[in-house]
């Protein structure tokens, strides 16, 4: 049998491992267990009543629909941006590359009020969309716009390193042998970056589903229409309906775990493909 720990001359395992597990349990695991316990103290009937309530279902539809749409938009535009940054030289490329991480670093409340202002009826972009009959702020489109912004870096930053790994000499060889650009893209580039693209898509989707700060300003927060699930949880907490909030939180937690698992499987798949192609 494999020993629990392999011997090492280095000291400090007991201290650091002990502190790590202690702190992890205290700050993360016990509080999460409180949520699971709170949910478990409900009867099945109560639980289903809370999570299948029409208002809750409406919020799932918006949260998941808008997140899926935003992640899909990022799949396309994130790839284009990553491609532009990796393959082309143009003035300002380095600054733009650094700014891609802005949505990670920018507090969500700031992006929330700024996006709302830009896309409001009299905003810089909103005023041009208004005559076309497109309302962004305070509709589901606004929710999608906010979720697209916060998910964008995930796709770009996943795809960039993968694109750098595409073997240019393979592309050159294929083109020399008469392959068209689209053929090269489909047979050489896409297979190499596909795992990274899907990882970025899933990360962006997972982040968008739980997002709160940047959405609540632009969404308008109408029950059944523009109310996301995290907001519904906050409303339940403010009503001191801890069980209702915990049940909804539990649903989201389960979905987060499924996503985490998906991301790990996708990354393992990506590594296997790299090994299989001899890189």
């Amino acid at each position: 049998m494999k020993p629990l720990r392999q011997p090492s001359v280095l000291p400090g395992f007991g201290l650091t491992f002990g502190f790590t597990t202690f702190f992890l349990s205290g700050i993360v695991l016990l509080p999460l267990a409180a949520l699971v316990l709170m949910t478990a103290s409900m009867s099945w009937h109560e639980f289903l009543h809370v999570i299948l309530n029409p208002r809750a279902v409406g919020s799932y539809r918006l949260s998941f629909g808008a997140s899926l749409l935003a992640a899909s938009i990022n799949l396309i535009f994130g790839f284009i941006i990553a491609w532009t940054l990796v393959r082309y030289e143009f003035p300002g490329r380095k600054i733009i590359d650094a700014l891609i991480d802005m949505p990670f670093a920018l507090p969500t409340a700031v992006s929330g009020i700024a996006l709302t202002t830009v896309f409001a009826q009299n905003g810089w972009i909103g005023r041009y969309l208004e005559p076309l009959g497109i309302k962004v702020a305070y509709t589901w489109i606004g929710v999608t716009v906010a979720l697209t912004l916060i998910g964008m870096p995930f796709v770009v930053r996943s795809v960039q390193p993968a694109l750098q790994e595409v073997q240019r000499d393979l592309e050159d060889a294929a083109e020399t042998l008469g392959a068209g650009r689209l053929y090269v893209f489909r047979r050489i580039i896409l297979p190499t970056v596909l795992p990274a693209l899907l990882t970025g898509f899933t990360l962006a989707f997972a982040r968008a589903v739980g997002e709160y700060g940047s959405v609540i300003f632009i969404s308008g927060n109408l029950p059944m229409k523009t109310e996301i699930t995290p907001l519904l949880i906050v409303i339940r907490l403010e009503e001191f309906d801890y069980h209702g909030a915990a049940a909804l939180g539990f649903v989201m937690l389960v979905i987060s775990f499924v996503m985490l698992l998906t991301i790990n499987l996708l990354q393992a798949w990506g590594r296997r493909r790299l090994v299989a192609t001899g890189r």
Binding site: Q6, L10, F13, I96, A114, V118, I125, P230
Partner: protein
């Protein structure tokens, strides 16, 4: 033109990497689409923050910082970061030492657990503490008897922020220390150096850039956290309002200059974070994902 010349021209025209007309068109299309997308989604909002903050002039902008509650919000945010970031840094160093320096069973499971807060909605990160310490939470009655307030007070804000920023230093250091290996530390220990000496003289200098990287990301997230803190804070003006929460209050009161003035400070923090991050990357420390 003779056949040889034609074949040379044909070869040049189809040589890979050469700028054909189609290639140039594709390039300009990609660059344009990228820039338009980023301009609408990222640059316009960033510029709006500055434009709105200065909408009534520099005087009004600066005057908004004299507001008592704004000052209190800035102070609270700084206090929270000052408590949370050092604790999470110590935790990150401990976790990285245990995970990178030793082989034990269940290691990858432990790493997954450390990353857990990144996968959880900020609202849930705050809610778990309300369920524990809130009035109707597991320990609510017990705490009330003893007159201890955690929710709607500073301890709750600190706990929620700690939960959210928990993994940042650790996940930066673990892969870095794994990659650097144990040889130098093992040599030092074998030659008679103590554990602390080895850590401070060998390990810490080796990982300093990764550590700095993790700390600034942790700090940016700690100062900017909205969802988790919003759930536990209670939004008491001048008492439990952090900067992001204060932005929300000012914005909802249509005090746009005030709201965007505070937002401009947080944007400055984000820019500073990205600058430090870029400088650290330039030292040769590259972020692995």
């Amino acid at each position: 033109m003779n056949a040889e010349a034609i074949s040379v021209v044909a070869e040049i025209a189809t040589r890979p990497g050469r700028d054909t007309v189609v290639g140039a068109a594709v390039r300009w299309a990609f660059i344009t689409v990228s820039l338009v997308f980023l301009a609408a989604l990222l640059f316009a909002p960033l510029a709006t923050v500055i434009a709105m903050a200065l909408a009534k002039g520099v005087g009004a902008y600066l005057a908004s910082f004299l507001d008592k509650d704004t000052g209190a919000a800035i102070r609270l945010t700084l206090i929270t970061a000052l408590v949370v970031v050092p604790i999470n840094t110590v935790f990150g160093l401990c976790a990285a030492w245990a995970i990178a320096k030793f082989e034990f069973q269940g290691k990858s499971f432990l790493i997954t657990l450390i990353d857990l807060p990144l996968a959880v909605s900020p609202v849930i990160s705050g809610m778990v503490y309300v369920l524990l310490f809130g009035l109707q939470g597991w320990f609510g009655a017990w705490l009330q008897e003893r007159d201890i307030s955690i929710i709607f007070a500073l301890p709750g804000i600190i706990l929620a922020t700690m939960f959210v920023t928990f993994p940042y230093v650790a996940r930066e250091l673990i892969p870095l220390m794994q990659q650097l290996g144990n040889d130098e530390e093992e040599a030092a220990i074998t030659l008679g150096a103590g554990g602390w000496l080895t850590f401070f003289r060998i390990t810490l200098p080796k990982v300093r850039w990764g550590l700095l990287y993790g700390i600034i990301l942790c700090n940016a997230r700690a100062m900017g956290e909205f969802g988790a803190v919003s759930v536990v804070s209670g939004h008491i003006r001048g008492l439990t309002n952090t900067m992001p929460l204060h932005i929300e209050i000012l914005y909802n009161e249509y005090n746009f200059v005030g709201a965007f003035a505070v937002a401009s400070l947080l944007m400055l923090l984000a820019v500073a974070t990205l600058v430090v991050k870029t400088l650290v990357e330039r030292t040769g420390y590259r972020r692995r994902r």
